[in-house]
Symmetry: none
Subunit: 413 residues, 2 copies
């Protein structure tokens, strides 16, 4: 990264985070926005709502970053001391902002709620700071400046914070010479972080040698491979990812914010095809994932969850002898589930799952984590067995992503 | 807080957090667990996976806290440098732990996957650190000690981290003089935090006056009410929660780590009854929740996901005229879905959902978030409409918890 790159720090204020009652989602959102501007985040720190903790963190982060974002502690209650503390820190004084006061009074009147003194005090704001109006609440944003650094204080309520950031982000571009930053992420399913790393060792070393950052971001069944550098490295970054994508076609399903279910949706729309599922061990989780995409009614029609043997036979129509001979967790059973599903659900493609999610139900021949997945279509049916080694929840999650990628590959061919 | 209170810091290592690609959920979970032991968290800090950043953060947090938890950076790839960095920091050396190596090899063999050199290197561990075995992955936990302080390094994969913490938390009690604490949590569904607070204002004040902490922990559709004090206040804490439970029977579904689906499972087992679902807007998410409970095959048989109108008619057998007259999102339709499901799935109870999850599909009479839920049983069918006001994902999640609590109440009567 270039020397003149602008760095940022994010300080989250609030005991609710330190006691684990609240997960800090604000920082990730802010960090993502800043990265898109080429601002790299040095540190994210969550501290208690005590003046000394705030001052100490502020001093520390100002040594690391030109931009310091602070969220939280701007409410009207006694334990919200950020405003007062920042005011002291910058030798500023609080004065009533009549415009903001008007907005606050309108806000409460419109809700037919009384305007209390604590609410009016939300309009008492630091004189020297640039005030950013909050259209969604009573806590204003405050932009302080000191020795070329910006300290921006925002409310902790996520949608209020985001509303203010939408106003602030454009100004950052004009206020700072943003070092340019370019990154691209390739998404792969069904290949381990380590195997991938071995396969692409040469490309990775080559990238690192030319100053391109390489990061593996794993999530259940999926690896996100991110290359990051500057716009001067744009071509090399894209060519490198292209190479990796080409040599890992069966795994590489998308990039950036793609999801398997959204990619599948796009493929099905292109093909004007419909899909459904017949599920045992996933118990509807596969269907739920397909439905999670807005507009999925364009291609998703429905599913059968045949968890009990009885329903595999009576509802899906799997041959009872077949189950007695091979068991419900078998190639034969899952393929019949998929092919029967095609007709019952009247779809072009049907995914079927049958496995032992655990912790109970395992046998020496079929240990916990044994899962069969089948996909049936006009071209026929194909199936694959997997051996997952995790807890129930994870085994189900993995079955879903492996099934989705199997469908994606079927649709891509 | 007493003077001799033990403080902790949490360091999260990984660029994926600083670029906003991953939300740090680990720290909140760890903080919550530590708080239950009376350990207060001073600071949570997310840093880059660079050696100097790790060393710098470690030095800093050791001045603040006796306990420092580190998550992330323990993967086998080039960008995971935590182990090496900690080893240098504590002047330790990496040696192959043959027991761990054996586990890693078994792990890959059982998955029928090759054991690569990078995997074997996961068994190279610091000589002086106490190694905590990871049953769910290849990255071991490492417990370093320095001048009475503990530095505990854990993998960033949440369920692996949790598995290791379950082993570590009990040891903390024996290693450090932790205060005596007593907590109890009541779980309620379908009542807002503010309404609950108003209803129990007297009890809450009474608790606070006698030094019992009262915390509201909201999650989608659910409020967790936690009372915390010392073992001397055990009786008062339990009596207070009993009072609240009695006056909020329709909302209070459990305590501590109960879930709606686990409570429902226990009720169905007691009644020797079976359940299934016929889902539209939830698209299988309700079934998936019921199946998420280990051993759910004792009472859960299966589901129909009739997302398309065509399947509501042909698969479930809902009267076409009924849909034309009232629409699919209606009392009439959802009740017929539930009653038809009883027979098709051959279950004692059937839950049905039909609604508009959004963002598309809303009308003035039926805005996005309109959801009908019905439950059919031998005693007949009942239904209820809800108007959720959130995004697609949240509307579906809320439908699931409201449906589950409606079933719980039916089973409890």
């Amino acid at each position: 990264m270039s020397e003149d790159q602008i760095h940022a720090s994010i300080i989250t204020i609030g005991d609710e985070i330190l006691v684990g009652q609240t997960i800090d989602t604000n920082s990730a959102w802010i960090a993502a926005q800043l990265n898109l501007l080429g601002i790299s985040v040095r540190e994210i720190i969550s501290i208690s709502d005590k003046a000394e903790a705030i001052v100490e963190a502020l001093n520390r982060e100002l040594t690391l970053s030109k931009l310091v974002f602070i969220t939280g502690g701007l409410g009207p209650t006694q334990d919200d001391i950020t405003k007062k503390t920042l005011c002291d820190f910058f030798n500023d004084e609080l004065v009533i902002d009549t415009k903001i006061l008007g907005r606050i009074e309108d806000y409460f009147n419109s809700m037919k709620r009384p305007v209390l003194e604590v609410h009016r005090m939300q309009a008492a704001l630091p004189k020297k700071a640039k005030i950013i109006e909050n259209q969604l609440g009573t806590a204003s944003g405050m932009w302080f400046k000191k020795d070329g650094a910006s300290i921006i204080s925002l409310p902790g309520v996520p949608y209020e914070m985001k509303g203010l950031m939408e106003q602030i982000l454009p100004s950052l571009k004009t206020e700072y010479p943003l070092g340019d930053f370019y990154h691209k992420t390739l998404l792969l399913q069904g290949i381990g972080e380590t195997t991938l790393a071995q396969n692409i060792a040469e490309i990775e070393t080559d990238c690192r040698n030319s100053g391109i950052g390489v990061a593996y971001l794993p999530s259940p069944g999926i690896v996100k491979l991110r290359l990051s550098g500057t716009s001067l490295q744009k071509q090399k970054i894209e060519e490198s990812l292209q190479k990796i994508k080409a040599s890992h076609a069966e795994f590489a399903f998308g990039q950036e914010s793609d999801t398997l279910e959204s990619v599948i949706g796009d493929l099905l729309r292109k093909l004007k095809a419909t899909v459904g599922s017949v599920e045992s061990c996933t118990g509807g989780a596969l269907a739920a994932k397909l439905v999670s995409v807005s507009g999925s009614s364009d291609y998703y029609k429905g599913s059968l969850v045949s968890y009990a043997y009885e329903l595999k036979e009576n509802l899906v129509g799997v041959d009872a002898n077949l189950i007695n001979t091979h068991g419900a967790v078998s190639k034969e059973c899952v393929e019949q589930m998929a092919t029967k599903g095609l007709k019952i659900l009247n779809v072009d493609y049907c995914i079927a799952t049958s496995g032992i999610a655990g912790p109970a139900g395992g046998t020496p021949e079929k240990p916990v984590g044994t899962v069969w997945i089948a996909i049936a279509g006009k071209a026929g049916v194909s199936s694959k067995v997997h051996y997952f080694k995790h807890n129930r929840e994870r085994n189900i999650d993995l079955t879903v992503v492996y099934a989705l990628n199997m469908l994606r590959r079927t649709l891509s061919n």
